[in-house]
């Protein structure tokens, strides 16, 4: 598609803490290496999911890959304040207990 707009933005808002804004689908890609970069002693990688307007199982697939790599690296992936769309996909996939989810701060 021409002039493909950015549909997912990833913004760093703290040590190993990132805010995701937009859509998580098969057209999106998470910068896994950047998210996993061991730049601080923080034991958690936190993704703020409040502004993810859409997520399907392709987005879930990326989160699972990130979770697996984080575990291998000795850290834990935390999903913060998942939007309704994110929470629903986690729930219907039966994975809401697999991810560590924390509510809005």
């Amino acid at each position: 598609m021409p002039d493909d707009p950015v549909r997912l933005s990833v913004t760093r808002n703290g040590p190993r803490s990132f805010e995701l804004i937009g859509e998580l689908d098969a057209h999106s890609s998470l910068p896994l290496d950047e998210l996993l970069a061991p730049e601080s002693a923080t034991q958690h990688i936190t993704l703020d999911m409040a502004k993810v307007e859409f997520m399907d199982s392709s987005g879930l697939r990326m989160l699972l890959e990130l979770r697996t790599r984080a575990t291998e690296a000795g850290t834990q992936l935390v999903l913060r304040a998942p939007s309704r769309q994110v929470a629903r996909v986690l729930q219907v996939s039966g994975l809401d207990d697999v991810f560590q989810v924390v509510p809005t701060q």
Partner: protein, 166 residues
């Protein structure tokens, strides 16, 4: 039959209360497809819950066409029959039988799309046609929400065009 729009590589036709979308099988069309689905349902009184569910199902099934078939294009049709939204997505070769579907192990990050669809839709059927495979989903509105659309009766799936010309 009028072409409403052909922007974003998505060919859009609204006719007889039905929305028909044809798009190349590429991930860049997923977001435009979702926007068309949302807009169509919103304009016809869809509840927010039904709109979210059909949007998610359309995204999952279109993604399956891109990932798991050799089809160069995605064909999607959406209509309303009474209190039910009916979504057809073709081509869907390689879709496993719906009986006995089970979640993949955690070590396998793929294969959850159909589980999501069967969880949120009231009915999901795979219809084999001469030209390909159509996944048909039905999502019912809660009683009292639906506004029946008389001319939105869904045709038999045999009339669904499967574009294999590319």
């Amino acid at each position: 039959m009028a072409i409403v729009s052909s922007s974003d590589d998505v060919r859009v036709v609204e006719h007889a209360g039905q929305l028909s979308l044809t798009a190349p099988a590429a991930s860049g069309v997923l977001s435009p497809i979702r926007r068309w689905v949302r807009g169509f349902m919103h304009d016809r009184g869809g509840s927010p819950e039904a709109i979210d569910d059909v949007e998610l199902a359309a995204s999952e099934l279109a993604t399956n066409v891109i990932r798991h078939t050799a089809s160069p294009s995605i064909s999607l049709r959406l209509g309303r029959a009474g209190d039910a939204w009916v979504l057809d997505v073709a081509d869907a070769e390689g879709v496993p039988p719906l009986d006995g579907i089970s979640p993949p192990p955690l070590s396998d990050p793929t294969g959850r799309g159909l589980i999501v669809v069967t969880s949120i839709m009231d009915e999901v059927r795979v219809v084999e046609l001469a030209g390909g495979i159509v996944v048909r989903c039905v999502r019912r509105e809660p009683s009292g929400v639906a506004e029946g659309v008389g001319d939105a009766a869904i045709n038999a799936p045999s009339t669904f065009g499967v574009d294999r010309s590319g």
